[in-house]
Amino acid sequence: MLKKLTRFYHPKTIEEACQFLGNGEGKTAVIAGGTSAALRADSSLEALVDISHISELDYINKDAAFYHIGACTRVQDIYKSPDLKGPAGKLLQTAAGKIGSTLLRNAITAGGNLAGLFPWSDLPVAYMALDAEVVCRRGRPKRTVPVMSLIETRAPQFLAANEIIAEIIVPAYGPGTGTAFAKLAKTANDYAMISLAVRLTLKEGAVNQARIAVNAITAQPVRCLEAEKLLEGKVLTEELIAEAADKATDSINIRKDIRASEEYRREVFAVMVRRALTEAFENANRKGGQQ
């Protein structure tokens, strides 16, 4: 592993990190939590830029309408944060808390979980269900992009050589929005067989926005667009939820691996979507909003 590695850089600022990445001295990559097996198995890398000690990348802030999460915030800090509340905060916390174990969550970062995308990555579906945006920095210059474009293109292709993910921006939402997260795994800290995040935002009793984002059962995180469309504009009923769950199940390409067959996942997935939509709907209807 990392046979060609000769050096580490320890930048203290984002600008310094981008400089080290862009200096063209052999093959260089960012390391954040450092937990990615793919990163540690790379035998072409010559240098690693360790961004995990950059304090301007480690924070959870809230302004009037958004949460701002620094890319190197440990997912354990998301799980335990007293500042994350409401429909968006709870979804992020629940998803983060289901990742691996305490020992891993103390290493894994909010940005690394998105950039080093695996079928079992749990936070990306939460980001997708919340319509999060990602701030990417190349030194000073920055661009803010929808999380979906980063996921579809994959971070290594999407980002320039000297560019890093610096922040994830998540709309906070409020009363009238409900979320739910669900994960199916063999044990509490095994990789997911199904990772699912749902958001329903209601307007005058009807569904204004529906988001159903899944991973692990698929090869990469996807949204169930047809099921979302079926729900939008309608008043929710049990029948409609069941219909949406079936549509969601029909729309995805189900992956199989040593953990479970395609048939099993299909069966469980439909039930999980139905329950998650029901839970999100209850949360959206809570007096005073989801806490």
Partner: protein, 162 residues
């Protein structure tokens, strides 16, 4: 490559290979409490505190702990002067083959450092990354809870003496 860290309260400069893991680095430097279990971050036998946070040293590259402070079980206590947690693990019988104990003790110490009065649920949550394949999971929860009691008592009595 040089690595500068503070391990169990002592500043050390170690010569390492750039691709060395923290686990092999610590063991080579003589900190044999740190155990090799699965080597994949799954079992927690290799847990150490890095700047106060318990993490798996087997998948941590040593180069990423430059300038940090590391605590292993050697830094918690020894047979003559055991840490309250070590004594509690012995008293509760929360040990059998003992291989997972160092990692569990480290995770438990991190919990008590940030939450001196945990509930049983807090303990289970904090030790969720430390697999034990022989003694089981009940006694170590009892051990951590009883250590928490004695740590709080100790703190209270030293405060009383002031």
């Amino acid at each position: 490559m040089k690595l500068n860290t503070r391990i169990n309260g002592r500043d050390l400069c170690l010569e390492i290979k750039p691709n060395a893991t923290l686990l092999e680095t610590l063991r080579q430097a003589g900190f044999k409490s740190v155990k090799y279990g699965c080597g994949e971050g799954m079992c927690g036998a290799c847990a150490v505190l890095i700047d106060g946070k318990p993490r798996t040293s087997c998948i941590t590259l040593a180069g990423t702990v430059e300038g940090t402070e590391i605590i292993t079980v050697e830094g918690m206590g020894n047979p003559d002067k055991p840490h309250a947690l070590q004594q509690a693990f012995v008293d509760a019988g929360a040990t059998q083959c003992g291989y997972c104990n160092p990692g569990s003790l480290i995770a438990a110490k991190a919990l008590l450092d940030s939450n001196p009065n945990p509930t049983a649920e807090d303990v289970k949550d904090a030790l969720d990354g430390n697999l034990c394949r022989c003694s089981g999971y009940v006694k170590r929860v009892e051990a951590v809870l009883s250590a928490a009691g004695s740590v709080t008592k100790q703190k209270k009595s030293t405060r009383g003496k002031k």
